[in-house]
Amino acid sequence: MPLTMSSGLIALEGVAVRFGATTALHGVDFTLRAGERVALVGANGCGKTTLLRVLHGRLPHEGRRLVAGDLRQAMVYQRPFLLRVSVWRNLMLALWLAGVPAAERTARADAALARVGLAGERNRPARVLSGGQQQRLALARAWAVRPQVLFLDEPTASLDPGAKREVEQLITEFSAEGMALVMSTHNLGQAKRLATRVLYLEGGRLVVDLATNDFFERPLPEPAALFLKGELPWSA
């Protein structure tokens, strides 16, 4: 059954994912709506990355996955794969792969580089950039194809505070431009700052799904509450 834009962008109904004998996700129901910023939180191995990948449509699964019409998506993986070519060429290749017409590619690549502040690195080999710069390039690459949904897997996990702040700023701006975001993070402060909705996963199960305010103010079921307590301080 096709979704309409108002009802949701991507919907999962009873979706489970198995890798061999292991079940990474058990029966997840979730609908992503336009304009949302969703944070996925939980301990390592709880299924955050798997949920991202199955939302993005990259994994075989049981249950149903529905996508609205011609939805453009992009994903920034935890360790973004950059080809051993220049920054510029990485961008142009991404635009080409996304089917952007040749005439528009240069302009969009230029805009993307400027957007993330990498215009000066244009001709350098992408692999010699610093960690933060590579992350920004991955974001530029995703932004350049103008996705309606952007998935991010721990986008600031390995960054220093300065770089972390820059990336969070970009993410906020993307959302302001109308992109729906689904982002996994192990940093609860980040979830509180950036998200409109927080999902807590444990052992492959979606245990809590609440608006951000509700998630952090209201009392939570036992495991989630303990998880929250283990993650101090708030002001990170």
Binding site: R58, F81, L93, L97, A98, G99, P125, V128, R141, V145
Partner: protein
């Protein structure tokens, strides 16, 4: 034994110094035939290897096993097969290219094609396993992703090409049969060495062997130089370690 090697080394040295025109012609022909074969094998083999790394169809695993088995193709067998094809009595006889360098190029291309394809397949399969999903996420069809991975792993491809070149330039069985070792036309280093050995001129044969190794060594040194110059642009993430052939 030592005296044999000594005589061979001094023969090799005087051959190189003397710059005998006939020797130069033989060396040039060897390099030309083997390089052309490697270029052809690389074009076809790298494409096929990349495709095989990402394609999925019934019998895929059997095909990979067959390919890996062809790594052990004896050069004489390839020579014989190509001879039967190109002989006047065979299907492609009307081309009239038996006993010419063209036939030798064909034979060596056939010989090293499995080497290139199998090694490329392994290289791309490993890279695909790690990063295929991200390329697919960006919108790449599997074969497009495979080709992008070839570009990404181009340094390792150079080593694959050099492996193929080594196999081609050192083989004697195939070029002997399809070329006929004709003086001045299809005589290459390896067939010349075989001839001198059978004439009992062992120092000359071994000397030619040293010359061959020296020429290939010089080429490799040149390539390493070029790679180092390109490498200084990158704080090189080292090229993917070449996986061992099955």
């Amino acid at each position: 034994m030592n005296e044999g090697f000594g005589a061979a080394l001094s023969t090799a040295w005087s051959l190189v110094i003397g710059f005998d025109a006939r020797l130069a012609q033989i060396v040039g022909l060897s390099l030309g035939i083997s390089s052309l074969s490697c270029v052809l094998a690389a074009g076809v083999g790298m494409t096929a290897g990349a495709w095989l790394a990402v394609a999925r169809f019934p019998g895929h695993r059997t095909l990979v096993a067959v390919l890996n088995t062809l790594l052990a193709l004896p050069s004489v067998v390839v020579g014989l097969a190509v001879y039967l094809l190109l002989s006047r009595a065979g299907p492609l006889g009307s081309l009239g290219i038996l006993f010419t360098p063209a036939a030798m190029v064909i034979a060596q291309t056939v010989l090293v094609l499995p080497v290139v394809a199998a090694l490329t397949r392994q290289l791309v399969a490993d890279a695909w396993h790690g990063n295929g999903e991200q390329l697919r996420s960006m919108g790449a069809a599997p074969f497009t992703a495979a080709l992008l991975l070839l570009v990404h792993e181009r340094l390792a491809l150079v080593t694959i090409a050099l492996t193929a070149f080594g196999r081609a330039i050192s083989e004697v069985g195939a070029v002997m049969i399809v070329g006929g070792n004709i003086d001045g036309v299809t005589r290459v280093m390896t067939t010349a060495i075989a001839l001198e050995t059978s004439k009992g001129d062992l120092p000359l044969a071994l000397g030619l062997g040293f010359v061959l190794l020296a020429v290939v060594g010089a080429i490799n040194a040149l390539i390493a130089l070029v790679q180092r110059r390109q490498g200084t642009h990158e704080a090189a993430a080292p090229a993917a370690a070449l996986p061992a052939a099955a």
